[in-house]
């Protein structure tokens, strides 16, 4: 391999922003057909580096060679014409347009011709990425939206595919399918730059890994020869402690319950919930597994009160029927929740951190008197979140969208926890969050349960669910299975249920 010309070679790439050196003298080589992992915590400079490769940004100094030829990629269009495709972590899709229209916008006009619809169907079938070209984006789940981006890249027959956290929204089966796709592409001599925090995946998939920390390349390794733990330690530069399940009191009384609830979805292509029964006891962590778009968002909205139902007793907090009450009321009853979308749902992007602290804490933290905001108290509350949950930010007057994903999640999480919730509901709590913050959030959720709170986690990350949950249930097409203790179930069994193959109950394969 060594005498081959690398598909992409970077030498001495540096990029700085005012006050930050995002990339410091980065060098790496990607060979044709190589699956190359880029590992690093949030803020390590991975995104900046791939933006430089993809022409979204231009490096300050350094050399980029494509197939041995030195050149400058000034914008994504020229990157695409070279044969570089990229699947971003945050998708750039038009919600009001269909899948086909969205794809047509991002590709060359020759490709966006009449038979695009058929091409999309072909590619999505060929690579195991089911996608209906005629559906509108706003009706799709996060997982389905990602498929649009992947299919869009594949349509252009790329020579280098950059994937930023691609598996965070997929089921194990989907991940397996995606890996098959990626390996096939690799055999077809397509190079892949694969960014992920999921170390097991990198070990399974990637040929080479480059590890970044604080803007520099700190190490590189052959993932096959490493263990996930050893790679994590290289990435974080410190020894890792895996979350510990605290000693549990015996199963407490039921504190959050849903009884035989059905709801027709208000969204055009949403999922209707069918006869949902759910019980979360004090001191217990219940996990709900499922592929994106099987009713998780609808279930979450009913639990938080953003969508209300007629029968108050179909949702109970303790013994109080709250089905027809809104989020304000439920927060007062001790409910805390973490939405999936941090920017725009869990936080207002353009507002400062202290105003975002006020957003959900204004009642329980008594930040408002006589309708007037107590700014001093709100700032204090925000400061205590920042310090207790080690949120990295220059100050609480900075806007929420200035924080990295992991830091913002820590902030939102801290905001809910400091309100001492008796019930906490989290949807995809570690999606797009760096490994350090994710471990922190998981540990905090378990600690909360240990203190006697009822914790419900809705997630697609099975490893996460198995790590933190006491019991797991599966949601599929709006139906929720009964929950089973984690000791009695297998990942495979859950995986089958998630894809609708298993029976109504969780099958136990001892």
């Amino acid at each position: 391999m060594s005498d081959q010309i690398p598909r992409l070679e970077l030498a001495g790439i540096s990029k700085s922003y005012p006050g930050v050196i995002a990339n410091d003298n980065i060098s790496l080589k990607i060979m044709p057909g190589e699956i190359h992992a880029l590992l690093g915590e949030n803020g390590a400079g991975k995104s900046t580096l791939v933006k430089c490769i993809y022409g979204v940004q231009t490096a300050d100094t350094g050399i980029l060679k494509w197939d041995g030829k030195e050149l400058i990629i000034a914008n994504p269009n020229s990157a695409r014409s070279l044969g570089i495709g990229m699947v971003f972590q945050h998708f750039s899709l038009f919600n009001a347009l269909s899948v086909e229209e969205n794809i047509a916008i991002g590709i060359s006009p020759e490709l966006a011709g009449k038979n695009l619809n058929q091409q999309i169907r072909d590619v999505s079938q060929q690579y195991g990425l089911p996608l209906d070209p005629n559906r509108f984006v706003h009706t799709l789940s996060v997982g389905e939206r990602q498929r649009i981006e992947v299919v869009r890249c594949l349509l252009q027959r790329p020579k280098l595919l950059i994937m930023d956290e691609p598996t965070s929204v997929l089921t194990p089966q989907e991940v397996t399918e995606l890996f098959k796709t990626l390996r096939r592409l690799s055999e077809e001599d397509v190079s892949i730059l694969y960014i992920s925090h999921k170390l097991q995946e990198i070990k399974d998939l990637c040929h080479v890994a480059t590890i970044m920390r604080l803007g520099k390349v700190v190490d590189s390794c052959i993932p096959l020869e490493e263990s996930p733990l050893s790679m994590a330690e290289k990435m974080m530069g410190r020894n890792l402690i895996s979350p510990e399940k605290p000693q549990k009191p015996t199963r407490g009384v039921s504190h959050l319950s849903v009884k035989n609830l059905s709801l027709h979805s208000v969204y055009e292509h949403g999922v209707s919930l069918k006869n949902i029964d759910l019980e979360v006891c004090k001191g217990e962590v219940i996990g709900i597994a499922g592929i994106a778009g099987n009713g998780q968002i609808e279930l979450m909205e009913i639990l938080t009160g953003e969508v209300q139902v007629e029968d108050p007793n179909s949702v109970l907090i303790g013994t109080m029927g709250v089905g027809c009450e809104g989020p304000e009321f439920r927060r007062n009853a001790g409910l805390g929740f973490l939405p999936e979308e941090r920017l725009g749902h869990g936080a207002v992007p353009d507002m400062s951190l202290w105003e975002n602290a006020l957003l959900s804490g204004f009642q329980t933290m008594h930040l408002v008197s006589g309708g007037f905001i107590n700014i001093k108290k709100s700032i204090k509350f925000a400061q205590s979140i920042v310090s207790k949950f080690s949120v990295k930010t220059p100050g609480i007057k900075n806007a929420a969208n200035s924080l990295s994903g992991g830091n913002l999640q820590k902030f939102i999480f801290g905001r809910e926890i400091l309100q001492n919730p008796e019930v906490i509901i989290a949807l995809q709590p570690t999606w797009g969050v760096d490994a350090g913050s994710a471990a922190f959030v998981r540990q905090a959720l378990m600690d909360l349960a240990a203190k006697g709170a009822a914790v419900l986690i809705i997630s697609q990350d099975l490893q996460e669910l198995f790590e933190v949950s006491d019991r797991i249930a599966v949601i599929y097409e709006g139906k929720l299975s009964s929950s089973q203790s984690v000791e009695d179930i297998s990942v495979e069994g859950i995986g089958l249920l998630m894809s609708g193959i298993g029976s109504e109950r969780l099958v136990v394969d001892a």
Binding site: G55, T58, W66, K69, L71, I72, I73, A74, N75, N77, S78, A79, S81, L82, T304, G305, E306, G326, P327, E328, F329, R330, R331, F337, P339, E341, G344, H345, G346, A347, V348, P349, D350, M351, E355, L358, L359, S360, F362, V368, G371, F372, I373, I375, A399, N401, S402
Partner: protein, 361 residues
């Protein structure tokens, strides 16, 4: 080559620089326009923007004109912040003037200090009533408030026209379409002798102060801002969107109704067919020029008032058409919206040496 690049965060500096840029561009375009019209541009600019203010009386007139603009703009900015687009302030002003003025006419021979306050209160209620119709339609049936509020403007103006040509016509008015003149108790007191400057200006300043406090310190202002910036986050917090729709439409309608009543009981002194030279529409520009901030609306209201005065002045002294006022107002809004792009985007100059080789492949 120039390129627009998305900024990570909104630029606070540009939020304030953009109106200034818009004013400068308006001036430059104004100079070009006057030159093309064959008018000495310097002379025209002086006549338009400077000579209206060369006396105490000029300033008094400026405040008189700014009063309704500031009041309405401050009210509208609540709704605009929450993405509730009340375009019908002109109609709410007319109905408010009819309601408040109606009280004045009903008690045309009663001399009591309570008459004027009663008129102002009823005027506010009248404006609120007219804005409540779009609010009801929007919350019940999901209609678009831009259309309903705008269309109701024309209905409101027709109601005004009907009453003034019919039942409310002055019995001693030689058949002119005008109401009876108000009793002294129904007239807003003058606060500066020898001018038309009246107590309404003080009310407008109060309105600015109250709105500022509510917007910055009160949960109402917070809810309005959250709904405007991130509607889902507002639902997450438990803010009820319907309440905000009602609230913002009632605030803006009430402010317009108050402005209307102040007009009829102040400078005009009776109800006439045309109460406002488009204050309700111009206030939309004022609100945006003032960055939807109450204090900003105050300064923007003064500037817009100046365009009215300048237009009159230019008409009298230079025989320029009255449309010049509209042109200036339009240009100001146009340049403002254009400059506002730079709040979220930055301009980057691409050096021609950095031509990409990739693009040629």
């Amino acid at each position: 080559m120039l390129r627009l690049e998305l900024r990570g965060e909104m630029s606070r500096t540009m939020v304030y620089l953009s109106p200034i840029a818009a004013i400068i561009l308006t001036f430059v375009s104004g100079i070009i326009m006057f030159t093309i019209l064959g008018v000495d541009p310097l002379q025209a600019i002086i006549t338009f923007f400077i000579s209206p203010l060369n006396s105490a009386d000029g300033f008094a007139e400026l405040f008189v004109k700014a009063t309704p603009l500031v009041l309405i703009a401050v009210g509208l900015s609540f709704g605009f912040r929450a993405n509730i687009w009340n375009i019908g302030a002109e109609g709410q002003l007319a109905i408010g003037a009819l309601a408040g003025g109606g009280i004045g006419l009903l008690f045309f021979d009663v001399d009591t200090p309570f008459l004027l306050p009663a008129m102002l209160v009823v005027g506010v209620l009248g404006g609120m009533f007219w804005a409540a119709i779009p609010a009801l339609l929007k919350t019940k049936f999901g209609t678009n408030e831009i259309l309903t509020s705008l269309m109701l403007t024309y209905v409101g103006l027709l109601v005004l026209s009907y009453l003034i040509h019919g039942p409310w016509k002055d019995p001693d008015g030689q058949n002119f379409p005008e109401s009876r003149l108000f009793h002294d108790a129904a007239i807003i007191p003058i606060i500066l002798d020898e001018t038309r400057l009246h107590f309404g200006w003080i009310i407008a300043l109060f309105g600015v102060a109250i709105a500022w406090v509510v917007m910055a310190r009160h949960m109402i202002g917070f809810q309005v801002r959250v709904i405007g910036l991130a509607p889902r986050a507002a639902r997450f917090a438990g803010f009820k969107e319907k309440n905000i729709i009602w609230l913002t439409l009632l605030i803006s309608g009430g402010a317009a109704g108050l402005a209307g009543t102040i007009e009829v009981s102040g400078p005009v002194g009776q109800i006439i067919p045309v109460i406002s030279p488009g204050y309700g529409f111009t206030a939309i520009i004022v609100a945006f020029l003032g960055r939807l901030h109450p204090v900003g609306c105050l300064f923007a209201g003064l500037l817009m008032a100046l365009t009215y005065l300048g237009g009159d002045n230019a008409q009298i002294e230079m025989n320029l058409p009255n449309a010049v006022t509209g042109v200036f107002q339009g240009m100001l809004l146009f340049f403002l919206l254009a400059s506002d792009v730079l709040v979220r985007y930055r301009l980057r100059i691409l050096r021609p040496t950095k031509v990409t080789k990739g693009a040629n492949l």
